[in-house]
């Protein structure tokens, strides 16, 4: 049974209203609601944390701001409150930021569902949070103006204080109760960039202290009275169902409550429920399960590679096409490149493995999940339990990393917890993925084969480009709420993103896609298509630049179309900031790459050497054009972090043998440690006041091609097979 997720609401057709109300403990609550209520309906007092509040000005002066996105490291729980607090002229030291729970009013203003993804939190909610802040401020001014019998225009605000004519002043906390009664303005003017106090400044994270002293709770840390732990025993082949369970030995472990099968992903798993993690684990290890694997495809990486290579020699579904698809035939062979790229499955491995906690009480339920899709997951839990979504209180927890793993479209973690909670009514069930479950039973970045034929013109620029890519779609048939939008004529448009829409002005350009069906669970992985496609493009462009004997940054600038303005700006800034690349120590080399994703253009140079057969990355200089840089300190962190995150593409692989994933934990699937990461990374932002665009995923596509390009300069070897071996 697979829970279907709520379809994206035609949110824009329902009107959203901002409402003010008094909080139970005093203070002002600014909330959204979806239809104008009759005045009589509005309760005069709200519970301490009602399910629709955005801003709560408390009597003690603290200001709680609800963030509608998941904090998984990208800093949204600091950046979005910054935006609101700036327009509100709030005292930043008094701001408390927290996750909004699942709720209709917290749906993304652009996507219409409550979700975190696409690195679009700030881009999509910049205006929304500015308006919330500005309107709240306007109401506080109105309250002060009324009290002082002056015009609002005679008042100004700063640091949670309204100042009036003469020496009048009043703190927001004092005005909050009175502000409740003020009319909510329809429209208010917003600040000019010159007036920003927080936006554009390097502001430190609000969640640092708790994350440094052990007090920050993540989903996995939840502790509730009567809580039970659920662990799964997985089948050896993906999609298998249970034939028989011998749980005698498992149940003999003291503390075990129950053992039974539930559906998960395509097949089933056997769940052990116990009072403690270790009990559950020992019991699970003693299970003897007979799995039904008949008729299941047993994927094998070697066989898949051969299958994909064969497909790559034929044209697939066309993702982009311009000019003459046969132009390459008239280019002499000596001016052609034929390149085959082999890229493996990859796991996400956020440091906190997947988990979800659900308690079912019969007529209501409560859930705690570090979720990228709170709205749809709330609905999925409700469906499992036979409740309405609003009967499920869904709390969003801090997540120990996401990278795409916390947004599977089938809501597998909360659904699994709900299925167990249904059976053990009343007990909060914490369903935990072990690291082995995460690595070996995961949902992976798809494996890809790319075959590119390039014809080089007399000017050294690409005159013809024929690109075939082969890899699974994680959208088609997945239950993703945007499937109907993303899939066109059977083609999953996410697969070729980054290649089909390249800003390089290549005439006679064709990208086509094969979408084989394989019995491997696949999912979005931080930066999705561009992580894969820009590796291919940027290494090939580099090869062309080398052949033309042109500096790789200059070559890219020459090849970019007019539409690539942000990339152009990033590359120009990169050139300026990476002049060090022209004078490197012996045995060191540099490599360049650029990437555009969701309207942000980025580029980087990496400096590498090889010591004792190991790759050393000495330095990365990165540049980006993201429109307005809301929090440059956070942007720098994302780029420093993202290039390190992306290194795993060069280092690790998920491989299958006879139907099973071979890797089990970090010993077999090894991510970058500190010695593997760049020793320094400097980040430079193109100044701009354009609307802010994507950040979080953008650095990831840069690092693999930059490093491989550097290795080519160092060793003469162009790596097209990942992970790297024998550098």
């Amino acid at each position: 049974m697979r829970a279907t997720l709520a379809r994206p609401n035609s949110h824009r057709s329902r009107r959203v209203f901002l409402r003010a109300s008094a909080a139970l403990g005093g203070g002002l609550l600014m909330s959204l609601y979806l239809a104008p209520p009759a005045i009589a309906e509005l309760p005069s007092h709200q519970p301490e944390s009602p399910p629709d509040a955005f801003v709560h000005i408390k009597p003690d002066g603290s200001i709680a701001i609800a963030v509608i996105y998941l904090e998984m490291g990208q800093g949204v729980l600091t950046s979005l409150p910054m935006i609101l607090a700036d327009e509100m002229d709030a005292d930043w030291s008094q701001v408390i930021s927290q996750h909004a729970p699942a709720g209709d009013v917290y749906r993304s203003p652009v996507f219409g569902i409550q979700m975190t993804g696409g690195s679009l939190s700030i881009a999509n909610s910049f205006q929304q949070y500015r308006e919330l802040g500005a309107k709240t401020r306007a109401m506080l001014i109105a309250a002060a103006a009324k009290r002082w019998r002056v015009a609002p225009s005679e008042c100004r605000t700063e640091n949670s204080v309204v100042y009036g004519p003469g020496n009048r002043s009043a703190r927001y906390a004092e005005l909050a109760d009175a502000a409740v009664g003020m009319p909510v303005p329809e429209k208010v003017p917003l600040k000019t960039p010159a007036e920003f106090r927080l936006i554009g400044k390097p502001v430190r994270r609000l969640d640092s202290r708790a994350k440094c002293d052990g007090s920050q709770k993540f989903g996995l840390d939840l502790d509730l009275p009567g809580m039970l732990i659920a662990l799964m025993a997985r089948p050896p082949i993906y999609g298998a169902r249970v034939k028989e369970i011998d749980s005698k030995e498992a149940r003999s472990v003291s503390g075990v409550r129950d053992v039974f099968a539930i559906p998960l992903l395509k097949g089933e798993v056997v769940v052990v429920v116990a009072d403690r993690f270790w009990t559950a684990k020992q019991a699970r290890d003693r299970l003897r399960i007979d799995w039904d694997v008949a008729g299941l495809e047993r994927p094998d990486s070697v066989e898949l590679r051969a299958r994909f290579k064969k497909l790559a020699r034929t044209t697939g579904l066309i993702a982009a096409s311009r000019g003459d698809p046969n132009a390459i035939d008239s280019i002499p062979a000596v001016n052609r490149i034929v390149a085959e790229y082999e890229l493996p499955y990859l796991a996400h491995t956020p440091m906190e493995p997947l988990n979800a906690t659900v308690r079912y009480d019969g007529d209501s339920a409560e859930a705690w999940v570090g979720s990228q899709f709170p709205g749809p997951e709330q609905a999925a839990i409700a469906q499992v339990l036979g409740l309405k979504p609003e009967q499920v209180k869904f709390n969003v927890e801090f997540a120990g990393g996401g990278f795409g793993r916390r947004g599977p479209f089938d809501a597998q973690a909360p659904v699994a917890a709900a299925l167990v909670a249904k059976r053990l009514r009343g007990a909060p069930i914490k369903f935990v993925w072990t690291r082995e479950d995460d690595v070996q039973g995961g949902q992976y970045r798809p494996m890809f084969e790319h075959r590119v034929e390039i014809g080089i013109g007399a000017d050294g620029m690409p005159a013809a480009w024929k690109h075939v890519m082969v890899g699974q779609s994680f959208i088609i048939g997945s239950g993703n709420p945007f499937e109907s939008v993303l899939v066109k004529d059977g083609l999953d448009t996410l697969i070729a993103e980054g290649a089909a829409d390249t800003r390089y002005a290549i005439p006679n350009f064709q990208v086509s896609v094969h979408q084989p069906t394989v019995n491997v669970a696949v999912l979005a992985w931080r930066s999705v298509g561009p992580a894969i496609n820009h590796f291919v493009l940027e290494t090939l462009i580099d090869e062309l630049a080398t052949r033309a004997n042109v500096d790789p940054i200059v070559y890219r600038l020459k090849l970019l179309s007019q539409e690539g303005a942000k990339l152009r700006a990033a590359l120009i800034l990169l050139d300026e900031k990476s002049q060090w690349r022209k004078a490197l120590a012996p045995g060191h080399a540099f490599g360049v790459a650029c990437s555009e994703y969701h309207n942000t253009g980025s580029a980087c140079v990496a400096e590498v050497s090889i010591k004792d057969h190991r790759l050393r990355i000495h330095r990365v200089t990165a540049s980006l054009h993201c429109g307005l840089a809301v929090n440059p300190l956070s942007i720098e962190a994302q780029y420093q972090g993202g290039v390190t995150f992306g290194l795993i593409q060069l280092m690790a692989a998920i491989t299958l043998k006879d139907g099973s994933v071979e890797q089990q934990n970090f010993d077999g699937y090894t991510p970058p440690y500190i010695a593997d990461a760049p020793a320094t990374t400097d980040v430079h932002i193109v100044p701009s006041t354009d609307p802010p665009t994507a950040i979080g995923e953008n650095p990831v596509p840069l690092i693999a091609p930059a490093v491989v390009n550097a290795l080519a300069r160092l060793t003469g070897k162009r790596h097209r097979v990942l992970p790297l071996v024998n550098i």
């Binding site: 430190r204 969640d207 007090s215 403690r276 440091m351």
Partner: protein
């Protein structure tokens, strides 16, 4: 189930557990000290790092039966520790954390390093923290923060 007396953050704590249970789960589930994290269970990532005496120990690997009366310190004790406080302050000043899940382990490792070596070089830092995994990739700021903490303690 075995009754065991443990010395945790300077306090004598009694627990009644299966003695094969890793110290990590005793801390998290019996003593409700959830600052020490489960990242992998095989000692590959360091998220579970505590101090046993002066030594950084990966608590996911240490069966509670082998702890004995050796003093155990967790991340929760670092705010009252001279070196711990300096490391935490440096971490905050340098805006190190992202998701934060690995940071308890990194901080415990950094404290162990600085207690043994008050002026660590880049290479010392790289070796001592060389077995900790941070998927968010905060290593660059970690390097700066360790140096900053060393300066604060000098």
């Amino acid at each position: 189930m075995t009754d065991l007396a443990l010395n945790i953050n300077g306090e004598r704590r009694m627990v009644s557990v299966d003695e094969t249970t890793p110290l990590l789960w005793v801390l998290r589930e019996e003593l409700k000290l959830t600052g020490t994290k489960y990242g992998c269970g095989i000692g590959a990532c360091g998220a579970c790092t505590v101090h046993v005496g002066d030594i950084a120990v990966r608590s996911c690997l240490l069966p509670v039966a082998l702890v004995g009366d050796r003093p155990v310190s967790t991340i929760e004790a670092m705010r009252s520790d001279r070196v711990g406080k300096a490391v935490q302050a440096a971490w905050i000043e340098n805006d190190v954390v992202q998701c934060g899940y690995c940071q308890s382990g990194l901080i415990m490792g950094a404290v162990a390093l600085l207690k043994a070596n008050p002026k660590p070089s880049d290479s010392d830092i790289e070796q001592s923290l060389g077995g900790n995994i941070c998927r968010c990739g905060t290593y660059v700021r970690i390097r700066a923060a360790v140096k900053d903490a060393a300066d604060r303690l000098a």
